[in-house]
Symmetry: C2
Amino acid sequence: MKLNTESILLSHGSGGAESQNLIAELFYPFLESCVIGSGEDAGIAQIHSKDFAVSTDGYVISPIFFAGGDIGKLSICGSCNDVAMMGAKACYLTASFMLEEGFKINDLSRIVESFSKTLKESGAKLISADTKVLPKGALDKIFITTTAIGEFLYPHLHLSAFKIPKESAIIVSGNIGTHGAVIYSNREGINLNTTLESDCALLYPILEPLFASNLTLYALRDATRGGIASVLNEWAQASNIGITILDSSLPILPQVQGICELLGFEAYNLANEGMCVICIAKSDAQKALEILHKNGASNAAIIGYTTDRNPKRVVLETNFGAKRFLDYPSGELLPRIC
Amino acid sequence: MKLNTESILLSHGSGGAESQNLIAELFYPFLESCVIGSGEDAGIAQIHSKDFAVSTDGYVISPIFFAGGDIGKLSICGSCNDVAMMGAKACYLTASFMLEEGFKINDLSRIVESFSKTLKESGAKLISADTKVLPKGALDKIFITTTAIGEFLYPHLHLSAFKIPKESAIIVSGNIGTHGAVIYSNREGINLNTTLESDCALLYPILEPLFASNLTLYALRDATRGGIASVLNEWAQASNIGITILDSSLPILPQVQGICELLGFEAYNLANEGMCVICIAKSDAQKALEILHKNGASNAAIIGYTTDRNPKRVVLETNFGAKRFLDYPSGELLPRIC
């Protein structure tokens, strides 16, 4: 598949098939020889023979304030979670703020306060920051880019999307699709009259007890843009395995299910900001679930298994035994979801 | 000085007095306890007892293509230069691209090509990257944020803005104000009919011979937003010293001087993207100049000295012996200069 367009499309940023294509067709050909660690949530750097994890993300969410969070909290959780997916604890963070002329000081103040509160929770230190102000109209309100640097406190972990064996179990650490449903209903002006909040949260604290256990973890990935559908497809392709998911086992809040039915979405395609997919030895899955439930991840659930059938594909099994392929989400999905 | 405004102003991003004020009055009160290494170009991180330098910057320049460079080249040089100012060589780089829907694939391709070329020159590896696409109108074309991680190959260096002694010499590594003059004249539609180009370049290669020497270097800073006027004022305040600059010793290209006279600017307030200010022991200044001249910095010049008179202030001496304070640039200066 080539980039058969002259212009950037919204779908190039969706986290689905078109995003993969933009990276593969435009970025990689130039950058190939100077890229390391591609295909994981964070890269592994090495200085003086010491490994550490590094991950960067730009946050452009709209609206900037939403139920359960704001762009400041999101920009810390997102990058800290990315290094957590490699098993690393964020110890340093950088932040670049881009502000629109005329942006309200009060709003900036709320955002910096929440950024700071979440940073303190994470335990990471802000090591470098930058602020740019652009003329009115040159950007919409505020964008934040953060880079997290994480250290490996549990060196026995060797998490990778590329070495997942067949016959391992797939767990999600919480309800799926909540962040996406909150942002979408907010933008569509749907008044939910509920207490539904984005799941935006730091994942390291709920995962650390798993890292400290002697369970056999294969891979972790936070299911942001493109939802769990993207994560599962990436894993199936990277490790050349099949993945079978049981539809009835997916934990979805009733309000989220309602929004999905109203708007014609599937929760497995929607973004999450405080939920990850965990691949673990089948024999350790039940124990992992207990640890997760005990440590704040009360909705964690086993949702499926890896197999040697249908390599590189994800299969969704319904209650009635029907099966269909669960593909990468494609199309525009939801711009500015994170 | 408090933030006596309800909204963000362009001057908050100028790199001058108002930028300092925004940081001090809004960001620091929230972040104080979780910030390290403030006041330098890069922070010093430590993992497993090993130090490394980290610096982040957002690049929002307009126009995105200019004589001597583009936003891709700039985004590598800028962050690599920031860690070079601590004496560190960039070994890893992260990049976050924000793209406007409808941005031309050809333009993106030119930018990624130049980004990649400069990255290869730097010797750093891209360890993490992110691409976001926003709906048309949500940002102007393309913004790039990079974070450079640098290693200290010359551990005898202890560069800091806070420990500059009196009676040291101030050197600039090249002509001043060139980048700012190119961008400004481009935006004003001034056709220069000259070959004037931005100085946008990697600084580590011209500085490494100084690092490898046994000369006594005190501080380095690249003179981006706010020009050398900002750097000198930051140093004077951070180290509680006076700085005297000889107007006639400032290396300025005649075309840049012409643009300054036409537009009413001073070259010492204009941004540079491949030039730094060096503070060095007086007795080593001449030797340093020879090393710089031999290694590609042919316009490097000694421009002044630190003193114990007028602590925290910078004094500009003209040819005729007149003296005046050279203050932080203030006001709007030039938005989107880098």
